[in-house]
Symmetry: C2
Subunit: 212 residues, 2 copies
DNA sequence: TCGATTACTGAACGCTGTGTTCACGAAGTT
DNA sequence: AACTTCGTGAACACAGCGTTCAGTAATCGA
């Protein structure tokens, strides 16, 4: 056991952090109640009907909050959606590093596949879809979801290389894509179902190659 | 040289086919002029401003056609978009089969990457994004774009197996994903640019594996 | 206690796009 | 001719967007 990589998905700074700080702004402070209400409403609507149902008007109405207030703190629909997603699907996924790279990858990928097979997967698909026409959402998705996962995976793979379990001349970025991109691909382009045995197959073929 | 696989992307049946048929419908025949005008207008708008600009109203206006007529023949925005895409980006991509699987894959993947790097790639990304909330678009995309490519690739890979260039126990579906999904992934989730050298790396690693 | 400052509200607004209805004329069939 | 289907323009109700406005609420420093 070499330790454990923990991926923390932080949302926008909590208000408690702000209000406890010394340098308080003058004037009425931002309402934590409102913030929570908006994100909860957005998360509910996302679960119920996806991005289509999560309109700004619906969020404001369900949260019992003025539409103006929502627009004040979140610039776009995508921003609300992703904040709600990370607030309520706060996934602290641990990346095991037991020393057996194949097994560690298998655990990690299976967990991701299970997440993708459920409601969270459908929402993630819609978020990525929406990101195609929302640059702000795209960068947020990269910073808060993709980058931390890749960082953790890269670290584990580097260790495996040091242990001699992987070729030292591997292109890690391409290698990670060959492992994980198929999951995203099948999530977004469902040419084939997300078979629970897919991780095993992907890892075996990625490690051993295709030549006889 | 073992021959060539040609992938033909057929759009909705051309009107010329219909009108030349014997069993003509009674009544005023559908106007080919209108159909062309709609698809051209849609393609133009797609190129200019993506899906966001390609609204039904804009298409009808630019085509000089009644909005009702557009709705009569195409059920949704996605349907118009994909018809326009395949009508004006009619890509007859040939899949070489020279006997050297690595080289053939490289040619094919490089061609796809070049396409993805240009305007067609941006539009494809938006189409896939839109497909997340448009089931009809999703199936059309699978039938007209994904399936024919995978069929051709699968055939080439089977031949390679017969020639002994690839392991016989390969999971071809997973293998194809490991080759091509990274391209789609980087197109949709641009965590890293679509490097022209990516195909070479992907193919090398997929064929040779990651173990030392 | 009193401004000053910032947060939130409700109602309304103009705008754009969706998807539909209607009555009418156009272009083919038998 | 009668018949059938196609295309048109105008109008419609509906929904969501993003914004403006006047007014109220909460917290500051003095």
């Amino acid at each position: 056991m070499y330790g454990t990589f923990t991926i923390e998905y932080r949302s926008t700074a909590r208000l408690s952090d702000v209000t406890s700080a010394i340098d308080r702004k003058p004037g009425r402070p931002r309402s934590e109640r409102v913030r929570q209400a908006v994100l909860s409403a957005a998360a509910e609507l996302l679960v119920e009907g996806g991005m289509a149902a999560m309109t700004m008007e619906a969020v404001a109405a369900r949260a019992g909050v003025s539409k103006v207030t929502v627009y004040k703190w979140w610039p776009s629909r995508g921003a609300v959606a992703i904040d709600a997603y990370f607030e309520h699907y706060r996934q602290t996924i641990t990346f095991p590093d037991t020393g057996d790279i194949a097994q560690d990858l298998q655990r990690q990928m299976s967990a991701l596949l299970r997440a993708f097979s459920g409601r969270a997967g459908a929402i993630m698909a819609e978020l990525i879809g929406q990101a195609q026409t929302d640059p702000a959402l795209s960068t947020t998705l990269l910073d808060r979801w993709i980058a931390p996962r890749r960082d953790a995976t890269r670290a584990v793979l580097r260790r495996a290389i040091e242990r001699g379990q992987l070729r030292a001349d591997l292109d890690l970025e391409a290698f990670m894509d060959q492992l994980y991109a198929p999951l995203y691909f099948r999530l977004l382009v469902p040419h084939r179902p997300l078979d629970p045995r897919l991780p095993r197959t992907l890892i075996r073929q990625a490690l051993d190659g295709a030549r006889p």
